[in-house]
């Protein structure tokens, strides 16, 4: 494998040298960092990273290659991958290809020899920012100008880009039992959410995020699941209005991440952009009802303003112990609860699996 020089330029003029280990060309996106030490395959294929270039804080990446089972969607969604050192060998019994091979196949630019800690500290201090990485244009001024000119995430509807294009039923061939029918509004769902629902006995109907409430209700679902997704929730107000209609029907509803934010918007609360987001597998979340802590997997740049939640309508059920931000809410009267973090893990800890069971209970299982 030959390596090409690459340059990372940020909108504030900061530059980092790099070398391409997969893909060539020029990419743009919001540069973010993820602190997970494992799970690069799941991170790459998580649709929530649409429009983002992911820096992995842990510097040694690619060690265990890529396998067929740990895909979180049909393709990688991150615009690019920034790592310290990409392994040149693969060591794992399940691996069937290397990380560079996988990125090449999908035309994703991967760069290494980057001081990822320097990148992380910069983003931590200055916030997530627009970025361009190129193997073609190595001129600093030109690249910084491109970064400045690039589209940001705010107000953009990225969910529609990753949502299914037509309704579908999740892997009917693998359906072992069917206890309930669940409608999922796909804003960029991770497969593991669907896998878990199916394992628990749900027939999962996946709808594009521009589907109307009526169309969804037409299948007579027992419950509604609102998935994760990329970008700014305020960019998909069309989905929010359908969600509002759906929850008012009293349908048991469970939302994750973007789904949490859409629900909050539907309930009249506000969302805001975090300085650099929460991305990693070690975020402590306090379950306020139980008084115990769950170590959670997170990936979000936007957040629900928990003080904007009308206490008459809904209550905060979970908070992040690091910064006290909203991690979960429950409707006062309707069978509706959502969380900001990722109980389906993949990657990350499994501490919060109980939420899927709670959802089943809310559907009477």
């Amino acid at each position: 494998m030959s390596h090409t020089k690459a340059l990372i330029a940020l909108e504030d003029g900061t530059l980092f040298n790099a070398r391409a280990f997969a893909g060539r060309g020029e990419i743009e996106g919001e540069l973010v960092f993820n602190t997970s030490m494992t799970g690069y395959q799941e991170i790459l294929t998580d649709p929530s990273y649409r429009g983002q270039i992911v820096t992995l804080c842990y510097p040694l990446i690619g060690n265990y290659g890529i396998n067929t089972e740990d895909m979180e969607s049909y393709r990688p969604h991150a615009a690019g991958l920034v790592v310290g050192e990409c392994s040149r060998v693969v060591s794992n019994w399940r691996a069937n290809k290397s990380l560079p091979e996988y990125l090449e196949e999908n035309g994703i630019l991967g760069v290494d020899r980057v001081d990822t800690r320097a990148v992380t500290l910069h983003i931590r201090d200055k916030g997530a920012m627009k970025c361009v990485i190129s193997t073609e244009d190595l001129d600093a001024d030109s690249l910084v100008a491109k970064a400045k000119a690039s589209q940001g995430l705010v107000g953009r509807d990225l969910a529609s880009e990753v949502s299914v294009k037509a309704p579908m039923i999740w892997e009917p061939q693998n359906q072992k039992k069917t206890l309930r029918k669940v409608a999922t509004i796909d804003c960029g769902t991770k497969y593991n959410q669907l896998r878990i629902l199916q394992d628990l006995g749900c027939e999962v109907h996946v709808f594009p995020n521009n589907t109307s409430a009526e169309e969804i209700l037409a299948i007579k679902p027992d419950g509604l699941f609102l998935s994760n997704g990329p970008g700014d929730p305020e960019g998909v107000m069309h989905t929010v209005s359908e969600v509002r209609k759906l929850i008012q029907t009293g349908l048991p509803t469970f939302g994750i991440c973007f789904g949490h934010q859409l629900t909050a918007l539907a309930l009249g609360a506000k969302t805001f952009k975090l300085k650099f987001g929460h991305r990693g597998g070690n975020q402590p979340v306090m379950n306020l009802a139980k008084g115990t802590v769950e170590i959670t997997s997170q990936n979000h740049g936007f957040c629900v303003d928990k003080d904007s939640l009308d206490p008459e309508i809904a209550e905060t059920t979970h908070i992040n112990l690091n910064d006290q931000t909203s991690e979960g809410l429950r409707h006062k009267t309707l069978p509706l609860f959502t969380v900001q973090y990722h109980p389906e893990a993949a990657p990350g800890p499994h501490d919060s699996m109980y939420l899927f069971h709670d959802f089943m209970k809310s559907m009477g299982v």
């Binding site: 494992t38 842990y58 060591s91």
Partner: protein, 1078 residues
């Protein structure tokens, strides 16, 4: 939930002496725990027999008992102190086992003491194999197929059922003592017998072998609200079958997908909950089949461990401190993360660097046992390094190991130049990685290497990348900036590059600096940079940004002692920590540099700044140039930093304390001889030789007996006494082998001399004598291995005064500014100077602890300019007190089957204990018990004397008979005993091949004490067999007159008077206030 208010007084059990498997990591955890609990207002009662620990400093606990860690002592302390709770999870296996015994004896119930952290039931479930397997079934965690047995016959049957190869794992032991792998019934017979013996409850597990699987460890914490977090995952580079303490380990795990990692995390949490550890830290070990990913749990330790100390240093998460707080009722979310301050301790640390630990061994001291690794731990220390990639961390750790290598360099290959990578060498040698390098360069494929070594391909490729870069550096027409940067990114040291380019390391250093390539320092922050970190804990890398924030305050840099080894252990870390404390008190900013993860000095709380770096010239200079401290302390960390004194001073670094010329004067034999002559002090006649012939010639001049040793080696390596002319040539050859290219030193050996150690503090104008320590063993036994007593118990006051006077002269002549250690021999009323060490010595903590005068702290103040007068220390004064403190050495012989456990000029002990009492005999007895010599009060003694010791042995036999012991002996000894009217049962000699012999008696538990003097310098095989078997069976054995006489006197005394426990604080309170010194 806030802390408990129903308990006020908590008792902690320490881990006792440093032994293989239990080292200073428990001082680190115990000290953290004591501080954490006192901070919460609890009263702390501590028992620990190891004086060289920070935790036994009288300021750390409210009541400090330096007493043997036995159930009996614990009961006495409980009865006296009446604590509300006992915390057994911070003092290693020793504390856990002792607490369990005390609980089973009903003592806790009797005195109403609650066990916190882990109760007896939990300990049982984690430690007892059947109970553990049952629990694992309940937790739905797979375990290995295994059968628990109590006899050899059961063991053989179990192995037949499981199928060979099997692993033998004794329960209730330290570091896997007595365990091993057996490929066939013959091997099993041997391994299982040893295992049954090593187990406290005669129980071993015969287990399916997972030899060659991948091994992982998880460090887990839980609070009483059932919050559970994983602090760190550690992957072993060495495969299953090599004890994790002996493995090269890496954090975080490198070759697990998230799915596998989370499965292991889930399993760890289930294990924690099912075993029922209510609060605190535990360690869970897993084996993973590299072919299928099958995960099985191997064991769990319901306590903090060596690995948790490593995990704390690797992540910045203070496991022991948090464990202590959880034990008294806090929950994880209530405790702050010290490093980030704003976020809670309830999270999982995430790393953005790679950590490598490499163990250090001492096989060269136990040559009659092969240098093989297995399930029983053998390493005596370890070093850790942090880097931005594994190559960097690995190479830093290798140079931090202080084995004379500068990384994964050319010299590594020389170490094993003649060892093919085959068989047991390929799978079990601690040096196999060096051979891998050669094979890689010779073209062996990773596939073949994996087949031979079971080392994961990912690690092999890491090594191969180093080899490839090495070649590029070697072959490059010019070493340009890009290549230099690449080399530094991958951890190549200046010296390593220099060797490849045929330059000196200073030339490379200059070239590198001319390119502007200097290291940056990064924070260990628990969170991969997500939050701002406040704790200044750094490692170097060649990254783009620097986080070191040098201040403008007056600051001093203290160099630590690197990995523990025999001859340089916890004592030096103690001195470094005390130096830091004293200098902090004086208002200096203190900067600690060390690479040993087990220590208190590498706790980020100890100094103002911690640099976790190897102690090499390059690494130290880099920090110096970044921080620009006012001075560097090299006197406290033993020989490691002292060796840097001259090069650092030459590079313009202000080295504090004794001038480096004086250090040279003390260490250079010729210059030292001239000095002593000028002072009118005697020393044994001596000479140096560069060839064998020359040695023989000078030996003739000096006369017999003669001590032969190599120069510039530590801990008396290959130091021998020739009693006969025939010994000279083989010994000289051995000495040349141990110190290749160095002259051999020959000294007249002073037979039957009394040896003494003296630690002196000098400000270059006045001298204070910290104490005179009289050795129990005669000269000829390494001072680190000899028991000793302060104040002297047999030397006359006149001699002691003359010793003090002589040491004072030396200190002044050398213009010592700080500490000086002098070793003295008193031979026929004359004082001889044996050795001068211009630095803190191994005895400083023991002496400080026994007198209450903190020598190292005082020395630190002197090194920055305070005078003894200012410190109120009288000239030639010594502390005045009315008790005896006996230090006894602790040996690792039980780890090295077949090794003759006799004492010699070569140091072999790993640790020490102290016995303190107002009566010498009681202090001596306590020291023996604390050192693990289970001295009997009644029963049978086996006496076996060589010709020279027949006289005193018969006298001793008479005493033993008079105080009620039965005596057994072989023919010769029995005969002389009977001549004196002492009845002795006769045993056959082993060589006679008949029963009963001493081995039968040992096996049947019919002998309680063995006194056996070696017949000649090279012991007869059957003697070795007796002694090493006694060690393995835990039967106390004494091999010298000097050890035997006080032992028997002590047994007699304790039989008649019994013994009491006394806290350090009680001794010091009772000390006369008017005349602190004499």
């Amino acid at each position: 939930m806030p802390k408990r208010t129903d308990i006020k007084k908590i008792m902690l059990i320490g881990s006792g002496p440093i032994v293989i498997g239990q080292a200073c990591e428990f001082d680190y955890s115990g000290t953290q725990a004591c501080k954490a609990l006192r901070e919460e207002g609890y009263e702390i009662v501590l028992i620990n027999s190891n004086p060289a620990t920070i935790m036994t400093d009288p300021e750390i606990a409210d009541r400090t008992y330096i007493e043997p860690i036995t159930p009996e002592a614990v009961e006495k302390i409980i009865a006296k102190e009446r604590p509300d709770a006992l915390l057994p999870t911070l003092g290693g296996q020793t504390a856990l086992n002792t607490a369990l015994t005390v609980a089973n004896m009903g003592i806790l119930e009797k005195y109403g003491v609650e066990m916190i952290g882990a109760n007896a039931e939990v300990i049982h479930r984690a430690e007892d194999r059947d109970a553990f397997k049952e629990a694992m079934k309940e937790a739905n965690v797979e375990t290995l197929i295994s059968i628990q047995v109590h006899t050899l016959a059961e063991a053989m049957a179990a192995a037949d059922k499981i199928g060979y190869p099997v692993i033998v794992r004794p329960s209730f032991t330290l570091g896997g003592t007595g365990g091993g792998t057996a490929d066939n019934p013959e091997e099993l017979r041997e391994v299982a017998t040893a295992g049954l013996k090593a187990s406290l409850n005669t129980t071993v597990l015969i287990e399916e072998s997972v030899y060659g699987w991948k091994e992982y460890e998880m460090e887990v914490m839980r609070d009483h609200k059932d919050n559970v977090v994983i602090i760190c995952a550690i992957e072993n580079l060495d495969h299953m079958g090599i004890h994790t303490g002996d493995s090269i380990t890496v954090a975080p795990a490198q070759t697990l997908t998230d799915r596998e990692y989370q499965a292991m995390r889930d399993a760890s949490i289930r294990v924690m909950r099912t075993i029922g550890v209510e609060t605190g830290g535990s360690n869970v070990q897993f084996a993973v089949d590299p072919k299928t990913g099958r995960i099985t749990v191997i064991e769990m330790n319901p306590r903090v461990s060596r690995s948790s100390a490593l995990a704390s240093k690797a992540t910045g998460f203070p496991i022991a401190k948090i464990a202590a707080k959880l034990a008294v009722g806090y929950t994880l979310d209530e405790l702050p993360n010290d490093i980030t301050r704003e976020t809670p301790a309830c999270f999982e640390p995430t790393l953005d660097y790679c950590v490598v630990k490499i163990p250090r061994f001492a096989f060269e001291k136990f040559t009659s046992t092969p240098a093989r690794l297995g399930v029983s731990m053998k390493s005596v220390g370890e070093t850790m390094a942090i880097g931005r990639n594994m190559k960097e961390a690995f190479q830093k750790a290798l140079r931090g190991l202080e084995r004379g290598i500068d990384g994964f360099d050319l010299k590594c290959e020389e170490i094993v130049a003649d060892r093919p990578l085959e068989g047991l060498f390929a799978t079990t040698s601690p040096d196999r990685i060096f051979r891998i390098k050669t094979e890689m360069k010779n073209g062996m494929t990773d596939e073949e290497l994996y087949k031979r070594t079971h080392i994961d391909p990912w690690f092999l490729d890491m090594m191969r990348q180093i080899c490839e870069l090495e070649k590029r550096i070697q072959d490059a027409p010019e070493l340009d900036a890009d290549l230099m940067k690449e080399a530094k990114d991958d951890g190549f040291s200046d010296a390593q590059i220099a060797a490849l380019r045929g330059k000196t390391h200073t030339e490379i250093r200059e070239l590198r600096k001319s390119f502007g390539i200097i290291p940056n320092y990064r924070l260990v922050d628990t969170c991969a940079g997500e939050f701002e970190a406040y704790t200044p804990y750094f490692y170097s890398s060649y990254g783009e940004t620097d986080e070191s924030r040098p201040s403008t305050k007056p600051k001093i840099m203290i160099l630590g002692s690197g990995p523990n080894r025999i001859g340089q252990g916890i004592e030096f870390d103690y001195c470094c920590v005390h130096t830091v404390m004293a200098l902090r008190d004086m208002g200096y900013e203190t900067i600690m540099v060390n690479s040993n993860p087990e220590t208190v000095s590498t706790d980020y709380d100890t100094s103002d700044k911690l640099y976790f770096e190897p102690l090499t010239f390059e690494d130290v200079m880099n920090i110096y140039e970044k921080e620009k401290p006012e001075g560097v302390v090299v006197q406290m960390g033993g020989q490691t930093p002292l060796n840097l004194s001259v090069p650092l001073a030459a590079a313009g670094v202000p080295v504090l304390g004794t001038p480096s010329d004086s250090i040279d004067q003390a260490e250079d034999r010729e210059r030292c001889r001239v000095l002593l002559d000028q002072l009118g002090l005697k020393q044994p006649q001596s000479a140096t030789a560069k060839t064998v012939e020359q040695a023989v010639e000078v030996a003739k001049k000096i006369g017999l007996p003669i001590m032969i040793r190599p120069s510039y080696v530590l801990g008396g390596r290959a130091m021998m006494i020739a009693w006969e002319e025939a010994d000279i040539i083989p010994y000289v050859k051995e000495a040349f082998k141990a110190g290749p290219g160095m002259p051999v030193l020959l000294d007249r050996f002073l037979d039957n001399a009394i040896e003494a150690d003296v630690d002196v503090l000098c400000d270059s104008e006045d001298v204070y004598v910290g104490g005179v320590m009289e050795h129990v063993e005669a000269a000829g036994i390494h001072s680190g291995d000899s028991a000793c007593c302060t104040p002297p118990y047999s030397l006359s006051p006149i001699i002691v005064d003359r010793i003090k006077d002589s040491c004072g002269k030396i200190a002044l002549a050398l213009k010592v500014k700080g500490l000086l250690n002098v070793q003295i021999a008193v031979h026929k009323g004359e004082i001889y100077i044996i050795e001068i060490n211009p630095r803190a010595s191994r005895t400083v903590p023991y002496l400080s602890k026994s007198t209450g005068i903190p020598l190292a702290k005082l020395a630190a103040q002197v090194s920055v300019g305070r005078t003894l007068r200012e410190l109120d220390l009288p000239t030639l004064g010594t502390p005045n007190y009315h008790w005896y403190a006996v230090k006894e050495a602790v040996f690792p012989f039980n780890r090295f089957a077949g090794v003759d456990p006799i004492l010699s000029p070569e140091m072999k002990s790993t640790g020490e204990v102290m016995g303190m009492d107002y009566v010498f005999e009681a202090a001596f007895w306590k020291a023996q018990i604390a050192a693990g010599q289970a001295l009997p009060t009644e029963g049978t003694v086996f006496l076996s004397a060589n010709d020279e010791s027949k006289d005193w042995m018969t006298d001793l036999g008479k005493t033993l008979h008079d105080i009620g012991f039965s005596i057994i002996a072989t023919e010769g000894t029995a005969q002389v005993l009977e001549e004196k009217g002492v009845p002795a049962e006769r045993l056959f000699k082993l060589a006679e091949g008949q029963s009963p012999n001493i081995q039968d008696y040992m096996a049947d538990g019919k002998v309680q004490l063995i006194i056996n003097t070696p017949s000649s310098a090279i012991s007869r095989k059957d003697e070795v067999k007796i002694r090493s078997e006694a060690i393995l069976r835990g039967i106390p054995i004494i091999t010298t007159k000097w050890g035997a006489l006080p032992t028997i006197a002590a047994i007699d005394y304790i039989n008649k008077r019994g013994w009491v426990v006394t806290a350090l604080q009680e001794y010091f309170l009772a000390a006369p206030s008017g005349n602190k010194f004499r």
